[in-house]
Protein backbone atom coordinates (compact mmCIF):
# COMPACT_ATOMS: atom_id res chain seq x y z
CA UNK A 1 0.00 0.00 0.00
CA UNK A 2 1.39 3.36 -0.94
CA UNK A 3 1.33 6.12 1.63
CA UNK A 4 -0.11 9.35 0.31
CA UNK A 5 0.68 12.74 1.72
CA UNK A 6 -2.46 14.41 3.01
CA UNK A 7 -3.46 17.43 1.02
CA UNK A 8 -6.47 19.28 2.33
CA UNK A 9 -7.35 20.67 -1.09
CA UNK A 10 -7.35 17.29 -2.72
CA UNK A 11 -7.86 14.35 -0.47
CA UNK A 12 -11.07 14.84 1.45
CA UNK A 13 -13.32 12.26 -0.15
CA UNK A 14 -16.57 13.50 1.42
CA UNK A 15 -16.37 16.87 -0.33
CA UNK A 16 -17.22 17.27 -3.96
CA UNK A 17 -13.97 17.46 -5.85
CA UNK A 18 -15.06 20.41 -7.97
CA UNK A 19 -15.33 22.60 -4.86
CA UNK A 20 -11.75 21.91 -3.92
CA UNK A 21 -10.69 21.98 -7.53
CA UNK A 22 -11.99 25.51 -7.76
CA UNK A 23 -10.36 26.49 -4.50
CA UNK A 24 -7.09 25.05 -5.68
CA UNK A 25 -7.28 26.99 -8.92
CA UNK A 26 -7.97 30.20 -7.04
CA UNK A 27 -5.11 29.52 -4.63
CA UNK A 28 -2.82 28.84 -7.52
CA UNK A 29 -3.91 32.03 -9.26
CA UNK A 30 -2.99 34.06 -6.19
CA UNK A 31 0.25 32.17 -5.70
CA UNK A 32 1.26 32.73 -9.27
CA UNK A 33 0.40 36.39 -9.06
CA UNK A 34 2.68 36.91 -6.08
CA UNK A 35 5.46 34.86 -7.53
CA UNK A 36 5.64 37.06 -10.57
CA UNK A 37 4.83 34.53 -13.23
CA UNK A 38 6.72 31.58 -11.84
CA UNK A 39 4.24 28.73 -11.89
CA UNK A 40 4.00 25.49 -10.04
CA UNK A 41 2.04 23.64 -12.69
CA UNK A 42 0.91 20.41 -11.23
CA UNK A 43 1.52 18.04 -8.40
CA UNK A 44 -1.62 16.01 -8.90
CA UNK A 45 0.10 12.92 -10.25
CA UNK A 46 2.30 12.63 -7.19
CA UNK A 47 2.04 10.28 -4.25
CA UNK A 48 4.08 12.86 -2.33
CA UNK A 49 5.42 16.31 -3.02
CA UNK A 50 9.05 17.14 -2.45
CA UNK A 51 9.80 20.64 -1.14
CA UNK A 52 11.37 23.03 -3.64
CA UNK A 53 13.30 26.30 -3.45
CA UNK A 54 13.96 28.44 -6.50
CA UNK A 55 16.33 31.37 -6.59
CA UNK A 56 17.40 33.67 -9.38
CA UNK A 57 20.90 34.89 -9.94
CA UNK A 58 22.20 37.27 -12.57
CA UNK A 59 23.14 34.49 -14.95
CA UNK A 60 21.18 31.45 -13.75
CA UNK A 61 18.22 29.97 -11.92
CA UNK A 62 18.97 27.67 -9.04
CA UNK A 63 16.43 24.98 -8.18
CA UNK A 64 16.74 22.89 -5.03
CA UNK A 65 14.59 19.83 -4.46
CA UNK A 66 14.51 17.83 -1.25
CA UNK A 67 14.70 14.16 -2.16
CA UNK A 68 15.90 12.27 0.89
CA UNK A 69 16.40 8.58 0.31
CA UNK A 70 15.83 8.82 -3.44
CA UNK A 71 18.49 7.27 -5.62
CA UNK A 72 19.81 9.55 -8.32
CA UNK A 73 19.06 6.88 -10.94
CA UNK A 74 15.39 7.21 -9.99
CA UNK A 75 15.18 10.94 -10.80
CA UNK A 76 14.36 12.35 -14.21
CA UNK A 77 14.58 16.02 -15.13
CA UNK A 78 13.14 17.40 -18.33
CA UNK A 79 12.78 20.85 -19.83
CA UNK A 80 10.12 21.30 -22.45
CA UNK A 81 9.25 24.76 -23.77
CA UNK A 82 10.38 26.41 -20.52
CA UNK A 83 8.49 23.93 -18.33
CA UNK A 84 10.91 22.24 -15.96
CA UNK A 85 9.69 18.87 -14.71
CA UNK A 86 11.29 16.81 -11.98
CA UNK A 87 9.85 13.36 -11.57
CA UNK A 88 10.86 10.09 -10.04
CA UNK A 89 10.20 7.53 -7.41
CA UNK A 90 11.21 6.98 -3.83
CA UNK A 91 11.52 3.27 -3.36
CA UNK A 92 11.15 1.54 -0.06
CA UNK A 93 14.26 -0.44 0.89
CA UNK A 94 13.49 -4.01 -0.04
CA UNK A 95 15.22 -5.44 3.02
CA UNK A 96 13.20 -3.28 5.39
CA UNK A 97 9.83 -3.41 3.65
CA UNK A 98 8.99 -6.73 5.23
CA UNK A 99 10.12 -5.90 8.78
CA UNK A 100 7.85 -5.20 11.70
CA UNK A 101 6.93 -1.52 11.55
CA UNK A 102 6.10 0.60 14.59
CA UNK A 103 5.94 3.97 12.90
CA UNK A 104 5.84 5.11 9.27
CA UNK A 105 5.94 8.85 8.67
CA UNK A 106 8.14 9.02 5.61
CA UNK A 107 6.54 9.03 2.16
CA UNK A 108 7.25 6.59 -0.60
CA UNK A 109 6.19 6.30 -4.20
CA UNK A 110 6.27 8.47 -7.28
CA UNK A 111 6.58 12.24 -7.28
CA UNK A 112 6.40 14.93 -9.91
CA UNK A 113 6.74 18.69 -9.89
CA UNK A 114 6.66 21.08 -12.80
CA UNK A 115 7.58 24.74 -12.95
CA UNK A 116 7.17 27.22 -15.72
CA UNK A 117 10.31 29.27 -15.86
CA UNK A 118 9.72 32.94 -16.61
CA UNK A 119 12.52 33.35 -19.16
CA UNK A 120 14.33 31.09 -21.53
CA UNK A 121 17.25 29.06 -20.30
CA UNK A 122 20.13 27.39 -22.10
CA UNK A 123 18.62 23.92 -22.27
CA UNK A 124 21.88 22.24 -23.25
CA UNK A 125 23.77 23.76 -20.31
CA UNK A 126 21.49 22.61 -17.48
CA UNK A 127 23.37 20.85 -14.71
CA UNK A 128 22.07 18.78 -11.84
CA UNK A 129 23.91 17.47 -8.81
CA UNK A 130 22.47 15.19 -6.14
CA UNK A 131 24.07 15.36 -2.70
CA UNK A 132 22.89 14.65 0.86
CA UNK A 133 19.30 14.22 -0.25
CA UNK A 134 19.15 17.49 -2.17
CA UNK A 135 18.93 17.80 -5.92
CA UNK A 136 20.56 21.03 -7.09
CA UNK A 137 19.67 22.11 -10.61
CA UNK A 138 21.46 25.04 -12.24
CA UNK A 139 19.72 26.53 -15.26
CA UNK A 140 21.93 29.11 -17.00
CA UNK A 141 20.01 31.96 -18.57
CA UNK A 142 20.15 32.52 -22.30
CA UNK A 143 22.00 35.63 -23.43
CA UNK A 144 18.84 37.58 -24.22
CA UNK A 145 17.47 36.94 -20.73
CA UNK A 146 20.48 38.36 -18.89
CA UNK A 147 20.22 41.92 -17.68
CA UNK A 148 22.06 44.24 -20.03
CA UNK A 149 23.41 47.62 -19.36
CA UNK A 150 22.92 50.00 -22.24
CA UNK A 151 24.63 53.29 -22.26
CA UNK A 152 22.60 56.14 -23.68
CA UNK A 153 24.49 59.07 -25.00
CA UNK A 154 23.12 62.46 -24.15
CA UNK A 155 23.39 64.81 -27.08
Amino acid sequence: MALIRWNHTRDLPSWPSEVFGLQRDVNRMFDNFFRGGLQDDSTELSAWTPAVDIAEQKDAYLVKVELPGVRKEDVKITLESSILTIRGEKKQDTETATENYHRVERCYGSFQRSFTLPTTVKADRIEAVYKDGILNITLPKAEEAKPKQIEVKVK
Binding site: V52, D53, E56, Q57, K64, G69, T96, H102, D132, G133
Partner: protein, 132 residues
Protein backbone atom coordinates in the same frame (compact mmCIF):
# COMPACT_ATOMS: atom_id res chain seq x y z
CA UNK B 1 31.60 57.44 31.19
CA UNK B 2 30.05 60.44 29.56
CA UNK B 3 32.23 59.94 26.51
CA UNK B 4 31.41 56.23 26.36
CA UNK B 5 27.68 56.92 26.23
CA UNK B 6 28.08 59.43 23.49
CA UNK B 7 30.16 57.01 21.52
CA UNK B 8 27.48 54.33 21.76
CA UNK B 9 24.80 56.72 20.56
CA UNK B 10 26.93 57.86 17.68
CA UNK B 11 27.56 54.31 16.62
CA UNK B 12 23.93 53.24 16.55
CA UNK B 13 22.94 54.44 13.07
CA UNK B 14 25.98 52.78 11.63
CA UNK B 15 25.05 49.47 13.29
CA UNK B 16 21.63 49.67 11.71
CA UNK B 17 23.17 49.95 8.27
CA UNK B 18 25.42 46.99 8.84
CA UNK B 19 22.58 44.76 9.90
CA UNK B 20 22.07 42.19 7.19
CA UNK B 21 18.57 40.73 6.91
CA UNK B 22 18.85 37.11 8.02
CA UNK B 23 16.12 34.75 6.81
CA UNK B 24 14.21 33.34 9.76
CA UNK B 25 15.42 29.92 10.76
CA UNK B 26 12.77 27.30 11.47
CA UNK B 27 13.13 24.28 13.70
CA UNK B 28 11.84 21.28 11.79
CA UNK B 29 10.88 17.89 13.20
CA UNK B 30 12.21 15.36 10.71
CA UNK B 31 9.79 12.58 9.77
CA UNK B 32 10.82 9.15 10.98
CA UNK B 33 10.17 5.48 10.33
CA UNK B 34 10.74 2.99 13.13
CA UNK B 35 10.85 -0.70 12.61
CA UNK B 36 11.99 -3.74 14.48
CA UNK B 37 14.12 -6.74 13.63
CA UNK B 38 15.01 -9.64 15.87
CA UNK B 39 18.14 -7.92 17.21
CA UNK B 40 17.44 -4.22 16.96
CA UNK B 41 15.16 -1.28 16.38
CA UNK B 42 16.01 0.70 13.29
CA UNK B 43 15.03 4.32 12.87
CA UNK B 44 15.20 6.26 9.63
CA UNK B 45 14.81 10.03 9.53
CA UNK B 46 14.50 12.21 6.44
CA UNK B 47 17.03 14.99 7.00
CA UNK B 48 17.99 16.37 3.60
CA UNK B 49 20.58 19.09 3.27
CA UNK B 50 22.69 18.46 6.31
CA UNK B 51 26.04 16.64 6.58
CA UNK B 52 27.55 13.95 8.74
CA UNK B 53 29.62 16.56 10.60
CA UNK B 54 26.56 18.71 11.33
CA UNK B 55 24.46 16.00 13.00
CA UNK B 56 24.60 15.58 16.77
CA UNK B 57 23.17 12.52 18.45
CA UNK B 58 23.04 12.55 22.21
CA UNK B 59 21.55 10.41 24.96
CA UNK B 60 20.70 11.99 28.26
CA UNK B 61 19.03 9.75 30.81
CA UNK B 62 16.33 8.15 28.62
CA UNK B 63 16.12 10.74 25.85
CA UNK B 64 17.72 10.29 22.50
CA UNK B 65 18.11 13.71 20.88
CA UNK B 66 18.82 14.25 17.20
CA UNK B 67 19.95 17.73 16.20
CA UNK B 68 21.33 18.93 12.90
CA UNK B 69 22.12 22.21 11.26
CA UNK B 70 21.41 22.86 7.60
CA UNK B 71 23.42 25.20 5.40
CA UNK B 72 21.71 28.40 4.19
CA UNK B 73 19.94 27.30 1.01
CA UNK B 74 20.99 30.06 -1.36
CA UNK B 75 23.93 32.41 -1.84
CA UNK B 76 23.31 35.90 -0.48
CA UNK B 77 23.38 37.35 -4.01
CA UNK B 78 20.46 35.18 -5.18
CA UNK B 79 16.91 36.47 -5.34
CA UNK B 80 14.60 33.84 -3.86
CA UNK B 81 11.52 33.30 -6.04
CA UNK B 82 9.95 30.29 -4.40
CA UNK B 83 10.71 28.90 -0.99
CA UNK B 84 9.39 25.75 0.63
CA UNK B 85 12.68 24.53 2.06
CA UNK B 86 13.97 27.79 3.51
CA UNK B 87 16.47 28.06 6.30
CA UNK B 88 16.03 25.46 9.00
CA UNK B 89 17.55 23.09 11.49
CA UNK B 90 16.41 19.69 12.61
CA UNK B 91 15.45 18.62 16.10
CA UNK B 92 13.72 15.49 17.31
CA UNK B 93 13.74 13.59 20.58
CA UNK B 94 12.70 10.07 21.48
CA UNK B 95 12.35 8.20 24.74
CA UNK B 96 14.44 5.07 24.88
CA UNK B 97 13.07 2.05 26.67
CA UNK B 98 15.10 -0.24 28.91
CA UNK B 99 15.51 -2.83 26.20
CA UNK B 100 18.04 -0.85 24.19
CA UNK B 101 21.74 -1.38 24.55
CA UNK B 102 22.90 2.24 24.72
CA UNK B 103 26.58 1.45 24.24
CA UNK B 104 26.01 -0.14 20.86
CA UNK B 105 23.86 2.51 19.19
CA UNK B 106 25.15 3.22 15.71
CA UNK B 107 24.20 5.81 13.08
CA UNK B 108 24.75 6.36 9.37
CA UNK B 109 23.92 9.37 7.17
CA UNK B 110 23.40 8.68 3.49
CA UNK B 111 21.44 10.44 0.72
CA UNK B 112 19.78 12.76 3.22
CA UNK B 113 18.55 9.94 5.44
CA UNK B 114 19.83 9.32 8.96
CA UNK B 115 19.63 5.66 9.94
CA UNK B 116 20.00 4.88 13.64
CA UNK B 117 20.55 1.33 14.77
CA UNK B 118 19.32 0.69 18.30
CA UNK B 119 20.41 -2.83 19.30
CA UNK B 120 18.26 -4.69 21.80
CA UNK B 121 19.64 -5.88 25.11
CA UNK B 122 19.91 -9.62 25.61
CA UNK B 123 16.69 -9.63 27.63
CA UNK B 124 14.69 -8.29 24.69
CA UNK B 125 16.09 -10.51 21.96
CA UNK B 126 13.97 -13.40 20.78
CA UNK B 127 15.13 -16.70 22.18
CA UNK B 128 14.09 -20.25 21.78
CA UNK B 129 14.13 -22.37 24.87
CA UNK B 130 15.30 -25.91 24.33
CA UNK B 131 13.04 -28.60 25.68
CA UNK B 132 14.72 -31.14 27.87
Amino acid sequence: MEDGKQDALMRRPEDALQRVPVPPERIVTPVADLFETGDAFIMKLDMPGTAKECIHLSIESDRLAIRASVAVPHPASAHVLFSEIGHKKYLREFNLGDGIDRDKIDALYEDGVLTILLPKTEALRPRTIPIR
